[in-house]
């Protein structure tokens, strides 16, 4: 039983690390602001949940588990709020007007 819990904790940590790395590649390679926001959203909800649940399974102490659950709940409340405020400010301030220096981003934006 103990071995099963350790193995499942390791698998959850590996899935979270893979999702973090894919989000990091996405924030470097995606051509537009809103698509980069999608890549960051993956890392901030699913990867954080996977890694924190892996840490909860990793240790048997009750108080530490409570603190990890508090961190998980705060991240799940805070990061969609910050993403919503960021997208709202970008739309409100008309992001398409200030795209005059996208040539240094390394990736050519795909024209629809």
């Amino acid at each position: 039983m103990d071995t099963l819990i350790q193995v499942s904790s390791s698998i959850l940590l590996l899935i979270g690390s893979f999702l973090c790395l894919s989000g990091g590649v996405g924030i470097l390679r995606f051509p537009d602001f809103y698509t980069r926001m999608h890549a960051v959203g993956v890392t901030e909800t699913l990867a954080t949940t996977m890694i924190l649940i892996g840490l909860i399974l990793h240790n048997p102490d009750f108080l530490v588990d409570v603190k990890l659950v508090i961190i998980l709940l705060m991240t799940l409340f805070i990061s969609p709020t910050a993403s919503h405020a960021l997208a709202n400010a970008a739309i409100h301030n008309d992001l398409s007007k200030q795209k005059n220096d996208t040539s240094d981003s390394g990736v050519k934006p795909s024209k629809p």
Binding site: F33, V40, I51, I71, S79, A82
Partner: protein, 91 residues
């Protein structure tokens, strides 16, 4: 496995720093800094377990709150002041 996850999160933090330095607009930089802060919370939690001192979780809770407040503050500042000033300079 904890050390592997820590190294992965460090690599992702370096990627977010690259995007924050070379981001074309202001909002790309704010997005990258927000991602950096969230990954810092995860890094503090993982390092607490790697070093065998889970008391670091208190610091992670405080860092999550500070990260949220700083992102909201920068967005309010960009709404009210910076972009209007750059539009006036264009006129």
């Amino acid at each position: 496995m904890l050390i592997a996850a820590t190294i992965a999160i460090l690599v992702v933090m370096i990627m977010a720093t690259i995007r924050a330095v070379m981001g074309p607009t202001l909002y790309d930089r704010v997005l990258a800094v927000n991602m950096f802060g969230t990954k810092t919370v995860l890094l503090i939690s993982l390092l607490g377990f790697v070093m065998g001192r889970p008391e670091f979780l208190d610091i992670a809770i405080v860092y999550a709150l500070i990260n949220f407040i700083s992102v909201i503050g920068v967005l309010r500042y960009s709404d009210n002041f910076t972009l209007k000033q750059s539009e006036e300079q264009k006129k």
